[in-house]
């Protein structure tokens, strides 16, 4: 019966695939795909996704270990600051980094008197990788930090008791227990890179997402865009399959419902290691957080004394309210859809719920423009009353972000010991009483984490919002788009800073604080 409740999620998860197949085959889109253009773009997309995932792990895992498990100075502050780049939309981050380090950015201007004239350009595959890594590693950091806290300290103590060194214990005992969290974070980073448009177009790296845009926006060909989307969907399923295959062996360790309340002894860094680790943490935080923020503030400050500063702020406020509204609505719908799936995945052995979860990742890997065009197609033909309403914007976010809600809710459910539920039933609580009084409160941290990720990603969404919004409906992202279109970076800085400020609230309370609190 619970399966019935999972039906809406199933519909949302397979809808993009049904649309892509139907549109690409019926509209002649597939025929328009030439191997000579799609082949290299597919390879480039794949390489970018892998490089971003590897880079995000390379930064996220060490940061998590350093801030959770060592005696690094100021490690809780470092964790908070290290996770905060999550609130900077990657396209804003890319613009700001170019403004700072680009060939004619602030650094180049500062160096000019010294005779350094043209700095190397940050672009192409390498440039896109660097920028995307800087703004996606927090996914790996947060998931790994959470997993590190759940690691059973008894096992580590046993290993040390048997004479293993700290490093050896970490590699042989701790790492296997956090492997699935690390890989889940890497998957999020990889899929993010696949669906990103802003960074790859600014930095000239023609991925499949950029190909899809090109078909829509230079060739006026939505069927062609859908065909490219189909290739992306296949690539996404491949990645999700690979993730599940890799994680398979470690599920037992991950499912152990241990509560690591006993403080594990922090790993002591030696003097040199502490210095190196601090330098690493400072470098990452400077590049991913401080530098972009400083540039945005610098741009905003150039408006001081300008009469338009106040009007711009006033214009941006209702837009911020709009963004909060639609992204929260999306999070609520996502949660309602995700909870039955999460319950089924953890409490039953059926294949369908797991399948729903995997397939829902397709929406996450698709560019907003492909999802948006799909919903235009759907609404115009079957539900014209929905067209150009806020509801369709919300639906687009749900299609794209459902997997974030499902994986959050699932990790929440996994932490609930079924024996508590059995005990509640045994003491005469009804099924719904047990759900609302026992399961949900215990699962709440994970569930809310998923919801917070949905809000956070939806609040900065641009392509689908532009395509589906009602006339006159602005969000900070649409204002940034409009200002950067005419290269008015100072004016774009105000909505960008506002967007960052409002995203920082859910990020801090729901994502960072639970991980950064001291051990009880």
């Amino acid at each position: 019966m619970l399966l019935l409740a999972a039906l809406p999620a199933l519909l949302i998860a397979i809808a993009p695939i049904v649309y892509l197949v139907a549109r690409a085959t019926a509209g002649g889109g597939l025929q328009s795909l030439e191997v000579s253009t799609i082949g290299p773009a597919t390879i480039r997309t794949f390489v970018l996704a892998i490089l971003v995932a590897v880079g995000a792990v390379g930064i996220g895992v060490p940061l998590a270990v350093l801030t959770i498990r060592t005696d690094l100075p100021l490690r809780r502050v470092a964790l908070v600051l290290g996770a905060l780049p999550l609130v900077i939309p990657s396209y804003v981050g890319a613009l700001a980094l170019l403004g700072a380090l680009g060939p004619r950015g602030l650094l180049a201007q500062a160096l000019e008197p010294l005779g350094v004239f043209r700095l190397p350009t940050i672009d192409g595959l390498l440039g896109s990788t660097i920028v995307l890594v800087l703004f996606t590693y927090p996914y790996v950091l947060l998931l790994t930090a959470a997993a590190l806290r759940r690691v059973d300290p008894a096992l580590e103590q046993a290993a040390r008791g048997m004479g293993r060194g700290s490093l050896d214990t970490f590699v042989r005992v701790t790492l296997p227990q956090i492997r699935s969290a690390v890989i889940a974070g890497a998957l999020l980073a990889a899929l993010y890179a696949m669906s990103d448009f802003g960074v790859v177009s600014l930095l000239r790296c023609t991925t499949l997402t950029r190909e899809a845009f090109l078909r829509y926006d230079a060739l006026y060909d939505p069927a062609g865009a859908a065909a490219v989307g189909l290739v992306l969907a296949a690539l996404a399923l491949l990645m999700v399959g690979a993730e599940q295959w890799t994680v398979r062996g470690s599920t037992i360790a991950a499912r152990r419902r241990v509560r690591a309340r006993d403080a594990t002894t922090p790993l002591e860094l030696g003097r040199t290691a502490r210095l190196g680790a601090s330098a690493f943490v400072i470098m990452i935080i400077s590049l991913a957080l401080i530098l972009p923020l400083a540039i945005l503030i610098w741009w905003a400050l150039t408006l001081i004394g300008d009469a338009s500063l106040l009007t711009q702020l006033v214009d941006a406020l209702p837009a911020a309210a709009n963004a909060i509204g639609v992204s929260t609505a999306a999070a609520i719908v996502c949660l309602v859809l995700a909870l039955p799936v999460a319950a089924l995945v953890t409490r039953s052995s059926g294949r369908l719920p797991r399948w729903i979860e995997s397939v829902s990742y397709v929406g996450y890997a698709l560019p907003g423009i492909v999802v948006g065009l799909g919903l235009v197609f759907f609404a115009i033909r079957t539900a014209p009353f929905l067209y150009q309403t806020v509801a369709l914007v919300v639906l687009a976010y749900v299609v794209r972000l459902l997997p974030q809600a499902i994986s959050g809710a699932r990790s929440g459910w996994e932490r609930v010991d079924p024996r508590f539920e059995q005990a509640a039933r045994g003491m005469g609580r009804s099924a719904s009483g047990t759900l609302f009084r026992v399961t949900l409160p215990l699962a709440a941290p994970g569930v809310l984490t998923g919801a917070a990720l949905v809000v956070l990603t939806a609040i900065k969404e641009l392509p689908a919002t532009l395509l589906l919004r009602p006339n006159g409906f602005e969000t900070p992202a649409t204002i940034i788009w409009q200002k950067t279109n005419v290269a008015e970076y100072s004016s774009a800085a105000i909505p960008a800073l506002l967007l960052i400020a409002i995203s920082a609230i859910p990020v801090y309370f729901l994502l960072i604080r639970p991980e950064a609190r001291p051990h009880p």
């Binding site: 060939p103 060739l219 006026y220 609520i332 909870l339 719904s432």
Partner: protein
């Protein structure tokens, strides 16, 4: 409440949330719906003036011209749009099957070469392709008379900024194919690609020229004035190619009325107003300094630094054809390696 009912409850809740969300908006409209591919920053005051003059309220959908055109195509007969005001002839040409014929009197306000031969859209303003250059780093008179020289191996001025998939560049390449044929066009693109730096948008090219990142860029003439509006000291100049050179293509911003429009009368008032009163705004008020195409409109002040349009007739190209055979135009741009 039994265990059996619980999932039903959740399912119902899910569906209700979907339905409630679904009814959360309304899209009925008594205003004139304008899909505006022209930038909000530029034309918002123009639209406000229209409402003030005529009392007709506008419901504007802002977007990039090609994207709005693709949307109108996808919407088909159900399109909520009454009017499409596009940035370039190609973007409006692509939806011409969905456009109604405009009143002859309005069409005749504008020279024949700046409107659709079948009368489904009409140019409002003209924009000339130019080579924008950095006046600190380049002598204006050292620049070539023909755009084709940009592709020469003897080109000495470093990277040329181009926006290879932007509608303005694509339209220029389509026009080149019309004037010099596919073979020479491909040779030109191949040569240009040897020293081209690619951007997404024309505004970014002009920015890069202003900062000295590149010395020259192939754009429309008005981006210079847009940039000077926010940064009056930017070292920028426009180089116009020879009047008959294919590089001097005059493209138009153009307007058309959807044949499915439910507000035909208001839509016609809008088009007529753009071609008469609206022309004054483009000539006198707009920082961008586009060419008003109805030169008979009283009250137009001509900017002294702008060469008269008559001298820049550009190559003889049917603008309605810029939307044809886009696949091959894009394929040629790709073949040259300009899309990387």
């Amino acid at each position: 409440m039994t265990r059996r009912h619980l999932p039903l409850l959740i399912a119902l809740f899910s569906l209700t949330a979907l339905i409630v969300g679904a009814c959360g908006g309304s899209n009925e409209n008594s205003k004139l719906v304008v899909y505006s591919g022209r930038e909000q920053e530029l034309v918002e005051p123009l639209y406000a003036q229209f409402t003030k003059d005529t009392g007709i309220e506008l419901d504007v959908r802002w977007g990039e011209s090609p994207e709005l055109a693709a949307t109108i195509r996808e919407e088909g007969d159900a399109s909520p749009a009454d009017v499409f005001y596009a940035q370039d002839a190609g973007s409006i040409g692509i939806i011409d099957p969905q456009l109604a014929t405009l009143p002859q009197a309005d069409l005749e306000l504008v020279p024949a070469r700046y409107r659709d031969t079948a009368g489904r859209w009409v140019g409002v303003t003209g924009r000339v392709r130019v080579l924008t250059y950095n006046t600190d780093r380049v002598q204006g008179d050292a620049l070539p008379a023909s755009v084709l020289d940009l592709a020469s191996p003897d080109w000495k001025l470093g990277d040329v900024g181009v926006a290879p998939t932007n509608a303005s560049f694509v339209g220029f390449v389509s026009a080149l194919r019309e004037t010099i044929g596919d073979e020479q066009t491909q040779a030109f693109l191949d040569g240009l690609a040897q020293h081209a730096k690619t951007f997404q948008k024309n505004g970014q090219i002009v920015d890069a020229v202003a900062t000295g990142e590149i010395d020259t860029g192939l754009v429309n003439h008005y981006y210079l004035y847009e940039k000077l509006g926010s940064d009056p000291n930017a070292p920028l100049g426009n180089h116009y190619f020879d009047p008959t050179d294919p590089g001097s293509l005059v493209n138009v911003s153009a307007v058309g009325i959807l044949s499915t429009s439910k507000h035909k009368q208001d839509a016609e008032t809008f088009v007529n107003w753009l071609l008469t009163e609206g022309q004054v705004f483009f000539a006198n008020d707009a920082a961008e300094r586009e060419y008003p195409l109805n030169s008979a409109q009283p009250g137009l002040e001509r900017s002294a630094e702008l060469p008269p349009l008559a001298e820049h007739l550009g190559p003889d190209v049917d603008l309605a054809k810029l939307a044809d055979d886009l696949e091959n135009t894009i394929a040629m741009i790709r073949k040259a390696g300009l899309v990387n």
